[in-house]
C-alpha cells in the first residue's frame, strides 16, 4: 500500500491538472469554436426576386428602321373577291400597331424556358394582293429582290389573311424559330443557352464538326446595324455550288467549292467568342493564310482534324467562312461579326459518311440562305431572303444572360437556404454584389441604348454578371466546406478528443473531491 501523499504533492498534482484544464479552456475551446464555426455571410436573397420581376417587363428590339420592305401577297382567287389591299393593310397595321403585341413577345427556348422579350414588326408595306391566277407581269410587282411574297396558309376573310400576314411578319423576326432553321440544335447564339450542344456535352472528342460560320459585313454608314442585303450575283453563285454539292461529292468539286470562299484581309472582322461574348479579332483565331492552308490540307481519305477552336475540350471545328461583301463601296471601315455554329454536322467514328454529312450541311446552308421559295403561276420562282439583325442577336443574348443570372442566383439562394450548415464565405457575397451591379448596368443599357450595338455594352455587362453568378455558385471555399452532418462531426471529434478528455475529467474530479473533503475537515 502506498504511503499517503504529502500536502506538497497534492498541491502539485492540483497545479498540474488545472494547468491542463487552463490550456484546454482558454486556448483549446476558443480555437475549437473558431475553426468549426460555419461562417455564413448574409446574401441579398430578396434582391434576387426583384431581378426576376424586372425581367418580366421585357425589352424592346427594334428592327423597323431602314427602308420599308414591300410585300406582295398572293392569295387564292376565291378570297380576293371581297378583299382589298387597303383593308388588309389597315388590319395588319392594326395588329402591328398594338402596343401589347409590339412591346412584349414570348420567346420559347428549346429547353422549355420562356423569355419574354420585346420585338417590333419591320416596316413591311403591303404592295398589293394578287390572285394566284394573276400573271405577275400584270400585277405590277416590282422585280427587285426586296419584294417578299407570302402565301398565307389559310384561306378566308381579310381578317384571317391579315392575321396570317402578321404572323408571318412576326415569324420573320424570330430567327430561332424551328421552322426557319429546321433544327434548333444547330442554331445557337454564343453562350445563350438556346442551344450550343455542339460544344457542350459533345461526346466525340475526335469528331470533326463542319461548322458554318456566317460572316456579316456591316457598313458603318448604317446606323442601326442592319445587315446588307445579299447581292444577287453572290447568292446565285453560292446556290450554284450548293446544288453541285448536293449531287456529287468529288475532291475536285469540293476543292472548287472551298476555293470559292473569299477572305478579304483589308476588312477588320470582329469575332464574338462563345464563352466571354467579347469581341476579338478574327485574324487572331483564323488568319487567311491559316484558312487557306487548312483548306489545302483537307484530306477526304482520312479525316484530318483541323483545329480552329480555342476550346480544348470541344470537338474540332472547321469554320467555313461565308463572306457577305458589303453593299456599299466603303469597305475599309466595316465592322463585322460572326455568328458561330450557325449550322453544322457532327461526324463521328473512324469512317464517317462524308456524303451524307455534306448533303445535310448543304441543306442547312440552303435553308439558311433561302428558307422559303415558291413557284408562281408563270413558272418563275421567288425566294425570301434572311435578314439577321446583329443588334437583335446581341439583345437576345443579353436577355438570355440576364435570365441566366436570375436563375443562377435563385439556385444559389435555394442552395444556401436548404443547407443551413453550409459555409457562405465573403467572396461569395462579393461576387453576388458584383453580379447584381453588372445586371443593373446591363438592364440600364438595354433600356437606353437600343440602337447602340457598336460596343454591345449591355451584352458585356450581362456576360460579366453571368460569370460572377456562376463563380458565386461554384466558389471553392463554399464547395469545400459543404454540408457535414452532425453525426459525422461527432465521429471525428470523439476519437480525437475523447482520449484526452477522459484523464482530464478524472483528474479534475479527484481535485474537486479533495477540495470538498478539505473543506469539510475545516468546517469540522
Amino acid at each position: 500500500m502506498l504511503p499517503p501523499e504529502s500536502a506538497e504533492a497534492i498541491v502539485l498534482r492540483r497545479k498540474v491538472v488545472l494547468s491542463f484544464w487552463a490550456v484546454f479552456l482558454f486556448l483549446g475551446l476558443p480555437l475549437w469554436f473558431q475553426t468549426t464555426t460555419i461562417h455564413r455571410t448574409p446574401l441579398p436573397l430578396s434582391v434576387f426576386q426583384s431581378l426576376d420581376d424586372e425581367l418580366k417587363g421585357g425589352f424592346g428590339i427594334r428592327s423597323d428602321d431602314g427602308p420599308g420592305i414591300r410585300v406582295a401577297v398572293v392569295v387564292k382567287e376565291s378570297c380576293l373577291s371581297d378583299t382589298t389591299t387597303d383593308e388588309i393593310s389597315e388590319q395588319v397595321e392594326l395588329l402591328v400597331g398594338t402596343e401589347e403585341n409590339r412591346s412584349v413577345f414570348s420567346l420559347q427556348l428549346s429547353d422549355g424556358r420562356e423569355c419574354r422579350t420585346g420585338c417590333a414588326i419591320p416596316k413591311y408595306s403591303l404592295d398589293c394582293i394578287i390572285s394566284d391566277r394573276t400573271p405577275l407581269q400584270k400585277a405590277k410587282i416590282s422585280e427587285s429582290d426586296e419584294i417578299r411574297v407570302y402565301i398565307p396558309s389559310q384561306v378566308g376573310s381579310k381578317a384571317v389573311i391579315a392575321k396570317g400576314l402578321y404572323d408571318a411578319f412576326v415569324g420573320d423576326i424570330l430567327f430561332f424559330n424551328n421552322h426557319h432553321l429546321g433544327s434548333i440544335d444547330h442554331a445557337a447564339l454564343p453562350d445563350t443557352g438556346i442551344a450550343s450542344t455542339m460544344y457542350r456535352g459533345a461526346p466525340y472528342a475526335d469528331a470533326v464538326h463542319l461548322s458554318f460560320t456566317l460572316l456579316i459585313s456591316l457598313d458603318t454608314s448604317v446606323s442601326h446595324g442592319e445587315v446588307e442585303v445579299l447581292s444577287p450575283e453572290f447568292q446565285s453563285e453560292w446556290r450554284g455550288h450548293v446544288e453541285e454539292l448536293w449531287n456529287t461529292l468529288q475532291s475536285g468539286e469540293l476543292s472548287r467549292y472551298l476555293s470559292s470562299i473569299t477572305f478579304d484581309t483589308d476588312i477588320g472582322f470582329q469575332y464574338m467568342t462563345d464563352s466571354t461574348q467579347e469581341w476579338a479579332r478574327l485574324e487572331e483565331i483564323v488568319s487567311p493564310d491559316k484558312l487557306s492552308s487548312l483548306l489545302d490540307t483537307w484530306d477526304l481519305q482520312s479525316i484530318t482534324l483541323l483545329t480552329t477552336n480555342s476550346k480544348s475540350s470541344a470537338p474540332k471545328v472547321l469554320q467555313f467562312v461565308y463572306f457577305l461583301p458589303p453593299h456599299s463601296a466603303n469597305t475599309k471601315s466595316s465592322l463585322s461579326f460572326t455568328v458561330a455554329n450557325w449550322g453544322g454536322v457532327v461526324m463521328a467514328g473512324d469512317h464517317p459518311d462524308l456524303h451524307a454529312a455534306m448533303r445535310m450541311f448543304a441543306r442547312q446552308i440552303d435553308k439558311l440562305l433561302s428558307p422559303v421559295s415558291f413557284s408562281l403561276a408563270d413558272g418563275s420562282s421567288k425566294s425570301r431572303k434572311l435578314l439577321p439583325h446583329r443588334h437583335e442577336f446581341a439583345r437576345i443574348a443579353t436577355i438570355m444572360n440576364l435570365r441566366g443570372v436570375v436563375e443562377t442566383l435563385s439556385a444559389l439562394s435555394r442552395l444556401v437556404s436548404s443547407l443551413p450548415e453550409m459555409a457562405v464565405p465573403l467572396t461569395v457575397r462579393d461576387l453576388v454584389d458584383g453580379a447584381i451591379k453588372e445586371w443593373h448596368l446591363a438592364v440600364t443599357y438595354l433600356h437606353a441604348d437600343i440602337d447602340g450595338v457598336a460596343d454591345n455594352l449591355a451584352l458585356r455587362h450581362a456576360a460579366t454578371a453571368a460569370r460572377f453568378a456562376r463563380l458565386a455558385v461554384f466558389d471553392k471555399n463554399m464547395m469545400l466546406n459543404m454540408f457535414v452532418p452532425f453525426e459525422h462531426k461527432i465521429a471525428v471529434y470523439l476519437p480525437l478528443l475523447g482520449p484526452v478528455f477522459v484523464p482530464l475529467v478524472a483528474g479534475l474530479r479527484r481535485v474537486i473531491i479533495e477540495s470538498r473533503k478539505k473543506k469539510k475537515e475545516k468546517e469540522q
Binding site: L12, S19, V23, G28, W32, T35, T36, L496, V500
Partner: protein, 405 residues
C-alpha cells in the same frame, strides 16, 4: 576534458571526414531521405534560398525555403571562405564543429556542479553516445540544419547549468529562432535560470523579458535581411499550419492527406495544442528537476511536432544519457529499443516501395511512423515514470536538494 573524451572527439571527426570524402554522394542520398531531413531542415532547400537571397530575390517567394533567415546569414558568411556545397570543406568543417561543440556542451552539462557526481556516465561515454549515434551521424552527413539548432539548444542548457544565464537566454533565443518548437522549453528554462536566486516574479520577468528581446532582435535581423515580415509566414507559419504536405516520420501528414477541408483548421490547432499542452504540467511536476523537464519536453515534441526527423531522436537519447541515475528503473528499454530499431530499418524501405517502386502505398510508411511514435512514447513515458519513481523513493542521495536530475 580527459584524454578519452578527446579521443572520442577525434575519432568522431575522423569518422565524419572519412564518410564525407570517401562517399561524397552520401550527402545527397541522405538529404533526399524524408526520415533524415524535412522541408524545414533540408540543406538543398537552404541552398536554393541562399541563391535567391544572393541574387536579390526574396528566398521566401515560391514556397521553397522555409528555414530561418539566420541560416542564410551563416552560410552567406561561410560562403566567403569557400563553396558551401554539401561536400565542400567549409560545410564539412561547419557541421563537424557543430557536432563537436554539441558533444562538448553535453560533457559540460554532465560535469555540471549541480549534477550529482554519483551514478553519472563518464564524459567520454556521454560524448560518444552523441557523436557515434547513427541517427546523429546520418543527420550530420545529410547536412540537416537541425544539427545547428540542436547545438544552440544544448549550449543554452550548458550555460544555464553554469549560471551564465544571459548567454543561455541568447542561445535559447537562437535555437527558438532556428527551430520554433524550442520555445516550449522556456518554462523549464525559467526554472533553471532562477534556480540560483529566488524564483520570484521579478527574476522570472527579467529572464522572460531578456528572452523576448533576444527573439525580437533575431526576428528583426530577419526583417532587415529579407525586407519584410513575410518570412514569418513562410517559416513559422509553414511549420505551425503544416502548409507543406510531405511525408515524414511524423503523424501529421497522413491525417491531412485524408481529411476534409472542413476539419483542417481544427486538426491543425488540435495537433499543435497537443504539443503545447504538456509543457506547463511537466514543468510544474518536475519543478525541482528542470533538466529532466527539458528532456521530457524535447521527447514529447519529437513525437508530436509537425516535421520530425531522426536527428530529434538522436538528440533526445543524448540528453537521456545525462540521467544515468534513472536507468535501473526503466522497464521497457529493450522493447522500446527494438520497436525504434524496427521502425528505422523499415521506414526507408517502405518509403522506397511506395514512391519509387510503386508497389506500396502511403499506408506502409504511415504504419511505420505509427510504430516509431509508439516506440518514442514508450521511451518518454518510461523515463518520466522512472524519474518520478526515484523522486518518490527519495533518490540515492539522502539530500534531495543536491541531486538535480
Amino acid at each position: 576534458m580527459d584524454w578519452r573524451t578527446c579521443a572520442a572527439i577525434v575519432a568522431a571527426v575522423i569518422l565524419r571526414q572519412v564518410l564525407s570524402f570517401l562517399f561524397p554522394s552520401l550527402h545527397s542520398i541522405l538529404g533526399q531521405h524524408v526520415e533524415v531531413t524535412t522541408t524545414m531542415t533540408s540543406f538543398k532547400q537552404m541552398k536554393e534560398g541562399l541563391h535567391l537571397y544572393e541574387i536579390g530575390l526574396s528566398p521566401y517567394d515560391g514556397g521553397v525555403y522555409h528555414q530561418a533567415p539566420i541560416f542564410l546569414l551563416l552560410f552567406k558568411v561561410a560562403g566567403k571562405f569557400g563553396p558551401t556545397s554539401p561536400d565542400s570543406f567549409i560545410t564539412n568543417v561547419l557541421y563537424t564543429f557543430a557536432d563537436i561543440i554539441t558533444a562538448y556542451f553535453l560533457c559540460a552539462i554532465s560535469k555540471s556542479p549541480k549534477l550529482a557526481k554519483t551514478n553519472q556516465l563518464p564524459d567520454w561515454v556521454v560524448a560518444a553516445i552523441y557523436l557515434f549515434n547513427p541517427l546523429v551521424v546520418a543527420t550530420n552527413i545529410s547536412r540537416s540544419t537541425a544539427v545547428l539548432s540542436n547545438a544552440a539548444m544544448v549550449g543554452s542548457i550548458a550555460y544555464a547549468c553554469y549560471n551564465k544565464n544571459i548567454l543561455s537566454v541568447i542561445f535559447l533565443a537562437v535555437a527558438s529562432h532556428a527551430n520554433f518548437y524550442t520555445i516550449y522549453l522556456v518554462p523549464p528554462f525559467l526554472l533553471l535560470w532562477t534556480s540560483t536566486t529566488n524564483t520570484s516574479t521579478a527574476s522570472v520577468t527579467k529572464y522572460l523579458f531578456l528572452y523576448i528581446m533576444a527573439s525580437g532582435g533575431l526576428a528583426s535581423i530577419g526583417y532587415f535581411m529579407t525586407g519584410s515580415w513575410q518570412y514569418l509566414s513562410a517559416t513559422y507559419g509553414s511549420l505551425l499550419f503544416f502548409k507543406d504536405l510531405v511525408p515524414n516520420m511524423g503523424l501529421w501528414w497522413y491525417f491531412f492527406m485524408e481529411m476534409f477541408a472542413f476539419f483542417r483548421p481544427l486538426f491543425t490547432y488540435i495537433f499543435q495544442l497537443y504539443s503545447l499542452i504538456y509543457v506547463l504540467p511537466i514543468t510544474f511536476r518536475l519543478h525541482n528537476y528542470p533538466l529532466m523537464a527539458i528532456t521530457c519536453i524535447v521527447g514529447i515534441t519529437t513525437i508530436s511536432k509537425s516535421y520530425p526527423e531522426i536527428g530529434d531522436l538522436g538528440m533526445y537519447i543524448s540528453l537521456l544519457s545525462l540521467f544515468r541515475f534513472i536507468f535501473p528503473n526503466v522497464r521497457y528499454a529493450l522493447l522500446a529499443a527494438l520497436v525504434i530499431l524496427h521502425s528505422l530499418v523499415l521506414a526507408p524501405n517502405f518509403y522506397h516501395l511506395w514512391i519509387y517502386l510503386g508497389s506500396g502505398n502511403a499506408n506502409f510508411i504511415y504504419a511505420i511512423t505509427l510504430v516509431y511514435a509508439i516506440g518514442m512514447t514508450l521511451i518518454v513515458t518510461d523515463t518520466l515514470r522512472a524519474a518520478l519513481r526515484i523522486e518518490f523513493d527519495g533518490g540515492e542521495d539522502p539530500s534531495k536538494s543536491v541531486i538535480q536530475i
